[in-house]
Structures are given as structure tokens and as C-alpha cells.
């Protein structure tokens, strides 16, 4: 096997192993979205009958958006693990071995899709079993790769910021600064069509707006919705850019 690719898997596997050793992540990672499902989606029931509400019921509207939310927040905090590894000297240790910087970066990135698939699958099952979500199987199968590329994009971004600031507090501040507006403008909580015109026009610049639209379309079986190809293109481009950025900063990092 090519050494570059072997190294990616060696590092990625180790990252996953460390993640699995600490099973609390699964609990805390899933806690927030499930609380939203249980305590927030009932609020939407009254609103769901309002004229102009896009989906047939509150859960059909909220659950797909929540999957995107989980990826947005989950992956955006990936950088914390990297800061820990920087501090322990591990990153420096492997930077002295004959391993390409790209292999190190991609090894770290590799962890995210695996974790996200597991989380998203659990969330979908919970939503279907306990909250009566109806899903279109074909749509969901197409949704998973979408979640993966969004996760890779956000994780790479988070890793890059982590390499630059090298400090948990700063990383948390920066992450909140970006993720909260992206999340609110994406219309996860309420239909964006209910918002004032100005917010609607700003929301056009939030890639997550399209992601949430596409997720709703896919879960509800509207696989042909125009938002689906659009969002794949947007996040494919963003994903490539952020991963390359992460590799570049791994190359330059003075860890």
C-alpha cells in the first residue's frame, strides 16, 4: 500500500480509537439534538398549521434541520481534540517522522465522517421510533454523504483555526462567533420564509440554508428538489478548499 495512504489510515484509526475509549462523547454529542427534539419540536406543533409552513408536520420540518445542526456543531468542535494533541506534543512527535503533512491532516479529518454517520444514524432512529418521523429511505441514503462532506468542511475549518490559535478558549469563542449566526440563519428552528425580507436575503449567503432545505427535501422524499444538487456543489467546493487550507496550515504549523 502506498505509504501516504497507509499513514492516513494509521493516524485516522488511532484518532477513532481514542474517541471510542472515551464513550462520553457519544452521550454528550447526542444530548443536545435529542433535547431539541423532545423539548423544542413540540413548540412547533402550533405553528405547523400556519399557512405557508413548508412541511406537513412539525417533526417532518424540524428533524432534518436538526441533523444538519448536529453536523454543524459537532464537527465545528473537532479542533478541541487537536489542541489537546498539540499540547501533549503528539503532533510535533509525528511531524518529525517521515510522514507527509497531508497524511497527518487527512488522518485527523478521516475521523469526522465515521463519528457523524454513527451519530446521525442514532438520531434518525430515535426520531423515527419516538417522534414519528417518516423518512424516505432513498433520500436518507443520499443525505448521509451530504452530512459527511459538510462534516469534513466544518472539521477542517475547526482544525485549521485550532492550529492557528492553539488555545481552547479562543477556539471556543471563534467557533461560537461563526456557528451561531450560520445556524440561526439556516432556518433550522423556524421556516426562513417567516423571517423579515432582510434576514431572508442574508440567509441566501449562508450555505447551511441550502443544506437544511436539501435535508428536508431528502428526508421527505423530494429527492429531485433543486436544493440537492446545489448543496452538493457548494459543500464539495467548500470541503476541498477547507481541507487544502488545513493541509497547508499543518505544513506551516510551528507546533
Amino acid at each position: 500500500m502506498n505509504k501516504t495512504i497507509r499513514d492516513i489510515f494509521i493516524i485516522g484509526k488511532r484518532e477513532l480509537l481514542i474517541q471510542v475509549r472515551n464513550p462520553l462523547w457519544l452521550f454528550f454529542g447526542l444530548f443536545q439534538p435529542i433535547v431539541y427534539l423532545a423539548l423544542f419540536s413540540p413548540f412547533l406543533k402550533g405553528i405547523a398549521s400556519t399557512p405557508g409552513f413548508p412541511q406537513s408536520s412539525a417533526i417532518q420540518f424540524f428533524a432534518p434541520g436538526m441533523l444538519i445542526m448536529n453536523v454543524l456543531f459537532g464537527a465545528a468542535f473537532a479542533g478541541f481534540g487537536l489542541i489537546d494533541q498539540l499540547r501533549s506534543g503528539f503532533i510535533e512527535r509525528i511531524r518529525v517522522t517521515p510522514v507527509k503533512r497531508a497524511s497527518i491532516a487527512l488522518g485527523f479529518v478521516l475521523r469526522t465522517p465515521v463519528v457523524l454517520i454513527i451519530q446521525s444514524a442514532i438520531l434518525l432512529v430515535v426520531a423515527v421510533l419516538f417522534f414519528h418521523l417518516r423518512v424516505d429511505i432513498g433520500g436518507v441514503l443520499l443525505l448521509l454523504p451530504l452530512l459527511i462532506i459538510i462534516g469534513i468542511t466544518m472539521a477542517s475549518l475547526s482544525y485549521t483555526i485550532a492550529l492557528t490559535v492553539k488555545d481552547e478558549g479562543t477556539l471556543a469563542a471563534i467557533t461560537n462567533f461563526f456557528t451561531l449566526p450560520l445556524f440561526l440563519l439556516a432556518g433550522v428552528m423556524l421556516p426562513i420564509s417567516f423571517a423579515p425580507k432582510v434576514i431572508q436575503s442574508i440567509a441566501h449567503f449562508d450555505p447551511f440554508t441550502y443544506a437544511v432545505d436539501a435535508s428536508r427535501a431528502l428526508v421527505n422524499g423530494a429527492v429531485g428538489d433543486h436544493s440537492v444538487p446545489v448543496v452538493f456543489i457548494i459543500f464539495a467546493v467548500l470541503g476541498v478548499v477547507t481541507v487544502l487550507w488545513f493541509i497547508t496550515s499543518m505544513r506551516e504549523a510551528v507546533a
Binding site: 494509521i10 493516524i11 488511532r14 480509537l17 481514542i18 501533549s88 506534543g89 518529525v96 425580507k197 507546533a255
Partner: protein, 399 residues
């Protein structure tokens, strides 16, 4: 509706403006503190560095030990590291611009020796080592390591060197064995090769007992030995150790050094930084003393100590005036090779301390300068450091 939109836009603009002001204020508040700390490291350099160059140091160097390397290289041995005018400047955030961490270092490390880079914290030891380990790109200068140029053969160099940083680099959530396996695989070993090599190392370093526990449960000494194992998993020709014994108790320290010596005896070249001078004296074949980013002395510990004179006599007086007087009195005296003055203390470097001491005491008695305390000591590398920089290593650490 339109009025509401206008209000909303106004609110957004106000929010952005407040954000910008806060960011700017943060930047302004943060900047001086950063510059302040940098300054502490950087600015004393010129004053202190000039002192030894003008005062007795010149005499010191005109005697046996040259600063430039070739003369004290044992002949017939080849160099594994060769640096020429190695420099590293860090951009500082203040307007003053730059911090020169390493300011032109030339040295050679020979195959099979333990070479120590000594000096206080902030002297440029770690920066130098990080450049040699391909972690930091030199600002200028050329370096050859194991026959490969540092500027464009990183991969070749990385295959041949091992590096153990100050913090080690063990993953806390993984076991010691897993850490070693990962390292072995990253050096391209197959799983079978890696397993065999890790087994061999665990036996060699007597680590089986801890190998399958998470490294977060290790004591400082256990972790350090594992760090060392990690650095030699691929049998490097050249091993870099950054402050290997810092933070260890004497027993663990001895154990680490025992392993290091064993490695040297098996042919590995060791490049080590330390600020424990006694340790360097006992264990290094040759040392270079760095201060403020330049090498102030280089040679075997014995050679360096010889430049100081055989012994040192420390005389403490009741007050600094007395000390100054005695210092002037002994200036140019044939009895004394050189001396330093620190407040109430005069330190003399002499060839035969036990014979010279009575003469000095007679002299002071004649001059009616009573000595409060007196000590006779054989020279240490700390004395060399004091001689060259005008301060003790502990004093430089404290600053």
C-alpha cells in the same frame, strides 16, 4: 415594513460597529503585554553579550580553546551535523518587529558522541534543536545532517533522526505499547516488524510491566523512558533529546542518562539540550554553551573548565566597597588568571587553589581587608558560564 427593514439594517450596522470597536480594543490591550514579554527576552542581549567579548573573555579564548570548531575536533571522525551561520528570527507583533532567537551558530557534531547544548532558558537551545529536527525553518544558514541538506532533504533527514521533545508526545488515551506501535508504523514498518521491534524495546528498557496501561497513568519517570523508546523505535543514527531530565527525580534522571549512554555505546549520536550543567559535565563528550542565541564556548567539559583555571576561590566581604577594592587590587596579579565581582563577592580563578589561597589571604591581611567567608572549589561548567556571561546560570534562570 420598509421602516422596520431600515431599523433592522441600522441595528445590524450598529452591531458590526460595536464588534469592530471591541476587536480593535482587544488588539490594543493585548499588544503591549506581548511586546513586553518579548522585550524581556530580547533586549538585554546586546549589553550582556558585549561584556564578555571585551573583558577577560578575550584572554580566555586566546588560551587553549578556540570558539571555532575544527581545532578541537578529534581527527579522523566524521561530522553528522554541520551548521553554518544558523539563524532564526521570529516576527514579533510589536512595531519593533523581530526577535532574534538564534543569531549565527556554527558547530559540528561528530558521529558517536554525546553533544550537549547548554544554556539558560530562552538562550536559543530549543529553537536550534527544532531547526535541526526539521520542525522550524532557519531564517538563514546552511545545515547538513547525516550527509543531507536541511534546506531541501527533510524526508531523508527525518528517516535518520529521532526526536524526543520536552513534553514527550505520548498520547494519553493510548497505552505505551500503542504509542510505540504507531511510531514504528509511521516509520514504514510492517505490523510484524513493528510488533517485533516494540517487543524488543520493551524488553531492553524493562517496560513490559507498564506497556498495556494508558500513558496518562504513568509516573514522570516511566513516561520519560517511553518517550525515549518512541524516539529510537526506528534505530536512528542521530537522536535529539530536548531537556531529557527536566522535572525528574534524581533516580529517574540517572536511569534516563544510563539509557542514553547505552545508546551512545551502541553507536547512536546524541544531541542533547540541558540546563543542568553538572549533568552535562558528567555525561557529554563535548558541549557548546549558548547564551542569547550565540555560542559563547565549545569543547570538551575538561577543556572548558581548564580555561577557567584549575580552581576557584570565592571571597565574601562585609560590603561591596571592600569587594570592589579587592577586585581592583588583584587586577593583573600573576597569582590570578581572572576574576569576577558580584556585589560583596569576588571569585578568583587560579591554577593551584590550595597553594594560592594562603598567599591571597596574606595579601588581604596586609591590606587590612578582612574576609567574611571563604570557599575553595574546583571549577564547574557553571563557572565557565559565569566567566563568559558575567552571571550564573541560576541568576539567568531567575530573570
Amino acid at each position: 415594513m420598509e421602516i422596520q427593514d431600515a431599523q433592522f439594517i441600522g441595528f445590524l450596522i450598529a452591531l458590526l460597529a460595536v464588534g469592530a470597536v471591541v476587536l480593535f480594543a482587544w488588539h490594543v490591550v493585548m499588544r503591549p503585554r506581548k511586546r513586553g514579554t518579548k522585550k524581556k527576552v530580547a533586549s538585554p542581549a546586546p549589553t550582556v553579550i558585549m561584556a564578555p567579548a571585551e573583558t577577560p573573555t578575550t584572554a580566555l579564548f586566546s588560551v587553549p580553546v578556540p570558539v571555532s570548531v575544527p581545532a578541537n575536533l578529534p581527527t579522523g571522525q566524521s561530522a553528522i551535523i554541520e551548521t553554518h551561520n544558523l539563524r532564526r528570527t521570529f516576527a514579533s507583533r510589536g512595531k519593533r518587529g523581530k526577535v532574534e532567537a538564534v543569531r549565527g551558530i556554527d558547530f559540528q557534531v561528530l558521529r558517536g558522541e554525546i553533544f550537549g547544548l547548554l544554556g539558560p532558558n530562552g538562550a536559543g537551545k530549543t529553537t536550534t534543536m527544532r531547526m535541526l529536527c526539521t520542525l522550524l525553518i532557519p531564517t538563514t544558514g546552511s545545515v547538513t545532517i547525516a550527509g543531507h541538506s536541511l534546506s531541501h532533504q527533510h524526508l531523508e533527514i527525518r528517516k535518520r533522526i529521532g526526536y524526543v521533545s520536552q513534553v514527550g508526545g505520548m498520547q494519553r488515551e493510548a497505552t505505551g505499547r500503542e504509542n510505540l506501535m504507531l511510531q514504528a508504523k509511521l516509520y514504514g514498518m510492517t505490523v510484524a516488524e513493528a510488533t517485533a521491534r516494540v517487543e524488543e524495546l520493551l524488553t531492553l528498557l524493562n517496560l513490559h510491566e507498564f506497556a498495556d496501561r494508558k500513558t496518562s497513568t504513568y509516573s514522570g519517570g516511566q513516561r520519560r523512558i517511553f518517550d525515549l523508546a518512541c524516539g529510537i523505535v526506528h534505530r536512528p543514527e542521530l537522536l535529539f533529546l530536548d531537556e531529557p531530565s527536566t522535572g525528574l527525580d534524581p533516580q529517574n534522571r540517572a536511569q534516563v542518562w544510563e539509557q542514553v549512554k547505552k545508546l551512545r555505546d551502541q553507536g547512536t549520536t546524541i544531541f542533547v539540550t540541558t540546563h543542568y550543567l553538572e549533568e552535562a559535565d558528567a555525561l557529554c563528550d563535548r558541549v557548546a554553551i549558548v547564551d542569547h542565541g550565540i555560542i559563547v564556548a565549545m569543547g570538551t567539559p575538561a577543556e572548558l573548565k581548564k580555561t577557567i583555571g584549575e580552581d576557584s576561590i570565592t571571597l565574601e566581604f562585609a560590603d561591596s566597597t571592600q569587594a570592589q577594592y579587592v577586585s581592583m587590587l588583584l587586577e593583573g596579579s600573576p597569582l590570578v588568571r581572572s576574576h569576577t565581582l558580584e556585589e560583596r563577592t569576588v571569585r578568583l580563578y587560579v591554577d593551584h587553589g590550595d597553594a594560592t589561597l594562603p598567599t591571597i589571604l596574606d595579601l588581604l591581611h596586609q591590606q587590612n581587608r578582612p574576609v567574611a567567608r571563604i570557599a575553595l572549589a574546583h571549577p564547574t561548567l557553571d563557572d565557565v558560564f559565569l566567566k563568559l556571561t558575567g552571571r550564573t546560570l541560576e541568576a539567568s534562570e531567575a530573570r
